[in-house]
């Protein structure tokens, strides 16, 4: 564990921000819901321009980490920092301003059902930028083009396929040209070719926008393809921090079981006892 903590503190120092700080930092973050302890003191420093993938079992708390980063959840203990600013407990106006630096792709896309694709994409622009309607339309068309969906502005989310909805949600997430893009299970529920389209988009957006990306997934093909760095969350703590190549060669049995999609020894014993 100490080895992981040391690694977190020093991972890719050359990719840190100009003033030497990581763009996002979680310091000893604890979170529980009732009696369920989800995060048990996680420490991580995320560097500018990197794509960090957080892997872990369903219910491990991966999405909870993302929600802390954007201030949707406050930690019980510990701090989440963006460019050195502590996010938890921020005033509403400051938090609103801070959130314009983030784009968030939700697991279920979270497009507004009652609005058209164009209105969905225009929403953050209307809320935060004083732009003429023609300029907003132009940006919407540009963002849709970036995700490979031209000419669907007038459609409603219900008229789109699952893959298209994810891409529209991604276009909305980048509408304000955020510095950090958070992806919550971006390939879940998609067939392999469509999932790969999303992977390619994550890579393309990183290259075109230079944004820092944080991807939460349990899809190992996706993780290996898009990641510069992989973190594995288990029982409320990061038990692995390294590159995709280091993940493949790890000796940690818990990590290997997860990567290879094998049931753990405890799970197998429990099944045999019940059998």
């Amino acid at each position: 564990m100490a080895e992981v903590a040391d690694k977190q503190a020093t991972a890719n120092p050359e990719a840190a921000d100009v003033d030497g700080r990581p763009i996002i930092e979680l310091v000893d973050v604890y979170k529980r819901f009732g009696d369920l302890h989800v995060l048990r003191g996680i420490n991580v420093r995320l560097n500018k321009g990197e794509t960090t993938v957080i892997i872990g079992e369903s219910g491990a708390g991966k999405s909870v980490v993302l929600k802390h980063i954007v201030g949707l959840l406050d930690p019980e203990k510990g701090e989440v920092r963006y460019r050195g600013q502590v996010i938890g407990g921020m005033k509403r106006r400051a938090l609103t301003e801070l959130r314009t630096h983030f784009g968030y792709l939700f697991q279920m896309s979270a497009l507004f059902d009652s609005l058209t694709v164009e209105e969905n994409l225009a929403f953050p622009l209307v809320e935060h930028r004083k732009l003429a309607e023609a300029r907003i339309k132009e940006i919407v068309a540009q963002k849709l083009s970036m995700v490979g969906l031209d000419g669907i502005q007038s459609k409603k989310p219900a008229d789109l396929s699952g893959g298209q909805r994810k891409r529209v949600a991604l276009a909305r997430a980048i509408a304000l040209d955020p510095e950090v893009i958070l992806y919550d299970e971006p390939t879940t529920g998609l067939d392999p070719p469509r999932a790969d389209v999303i992977n390619e988009l994550i890579i393309k957006l990183k290259q075109e926008t230079g944004a820092t990306s944080i991807v939460v997934t349990h899809d190992m093909a996706s993780a290996n393809k898009v990641a510069d760095r992989i973190l594995m969350l288990l029982e409320g703590r990061f038990i692995f921090d390294g590159t995709p190549a280091e993940l493949t060669g790890t000796d940690d049995e818990r990590v290997r079981d997860f990567v290879q999609g094998r049931a753990s020894r405890e799970d197998m014993m429990s099944l045999q006892r019940k059998g």
């Binding site: 929600k67 954007v70 949707l72 509403r92 938090l95 609103t96 301003e97 801070l98 959130r99 314009t100 983030f102 968030y104 939700f106 697991q107 279920m108 979270a110 497009l111 507004f112 059902d113 929403f123 953050p124 809320e127 935060h128």
Partner: protein, 272 residues
């Protein structure tokens, strides 16, 4: 879990929910003031006006009409036996304007609009649309609750007026057309008994009902549990809570306003 522990747990849970509701209501009211002067707020209110007003109007008219018919039918025999049939308008119209008009318009609104609002916001909650709003730096209470609350607050009195009108006209139809009560004394006694104060009582009640329905429906949608069953349960809870709130507010307002009337004008007899 022991009985005592269950009671304790439920009490804590109820107190927490009560506190959460009032925090939610306070946040909505804080956004409401500045929101009234924002073009964006009114642009968002318009579709809700249509949903709350236009689409509820038919059911409110039908309810008002039948209540007026039943009131007139039920009261005629008793009043005629006492020789008071010409004063039937007082009973029918006063009951409608002060009591049944606002209460029934409120109940109809709670059933038709309150449930729909809870379902809509609850679905947005479980599909992460509320979180998406927050993550985009927009407050869901300002963006979703304030317009819906305003629509309920402003249109419930208007719907009540329609319920009153439908009830009064149908009561008049029963009295004059079916029971042959002369039209002139029917309206004369009504006009004599029904004061501006009575209309105001109906108006105040309907505003309070509209506000309570809007607030409860939005709160339940925002705090529903996950999954389809969570949304369904929230809709039921929303209607039950709104219905109870309407009856409780009705009682307290009736008591309070009656006290105010007596202090200002003294006791008013309707049979003298």
């Amino acid at each position: 879990m022991s009985f005592l522990a269950t009671v304790g747990y439920k009490s804590i849970h109820a107190t927490e929910s009560f506190g959460r509701f009032w925090t939610f209501a306070w946040t909505t009211l804080r956004f409401l003031g500045p929101g009234l002067f924002r073009y964006k707020t009114w642009r968002l209110v318009m579709p809700n006006f249509y949903e709350v007003g236009n689409r509820t109007l038919p059911v409110v008219l039908i309810t008002g009409m039948f209540v007026g018919l039943v009131l007139a039918i039920q009261s005629y025999d008793q009043l005629a036996a006492a020789g008071f049939e010409q004063r039937m308008g007082i009973l029918v119209n006063m009951t409608l304007v002060q009591e049944l008009g606002p209460v029934l318009a409120g109940v109809m609104l709670a059933g038709r609009v309150g449930g729909a609002l809870t379902a809509e916001l609850g679905t947005m909650n479980v599909t992460e649309q509320l979180d998406a709003l927050r993550a985009m730096g927009s407050d869901p209470i300002r963006h979703l609750v304030v317009p819906r609350f305003l629509a309920c607050l402003l249109l419930t009195p208007l719907l009540t007026v329609f319920a009153d009108l439908a009830g009064c006209l149908s009561g008049f139809f029963v009295a004059v057309e079916l029971k042959n009560v002369p039209s002139e004394p029917y309206w004369y006694f009504t006009k004599d008994a029904l004061e501006r104060w009575d209309l105001m009582v109906g108006f105040i009640k309907s505003v309070a009902f509209g506000g309570a329905i809007g607030m409860i429906a939005c709160y339940k949608g925002f705090h529903c549990r996950h999954g389809a069953s969570g949304v369904g349960r929230a809709c039921t809870e929303s209607f039950v809570a709104s219905f109870i709130a309407i009856l409780a507010i009705d009682f307290f307002l009736a008591t309070f306003l009656q006290g105010v009337y007596k202090a200002l004008y003294g006791f008013k007899s309707l049979v003298m």
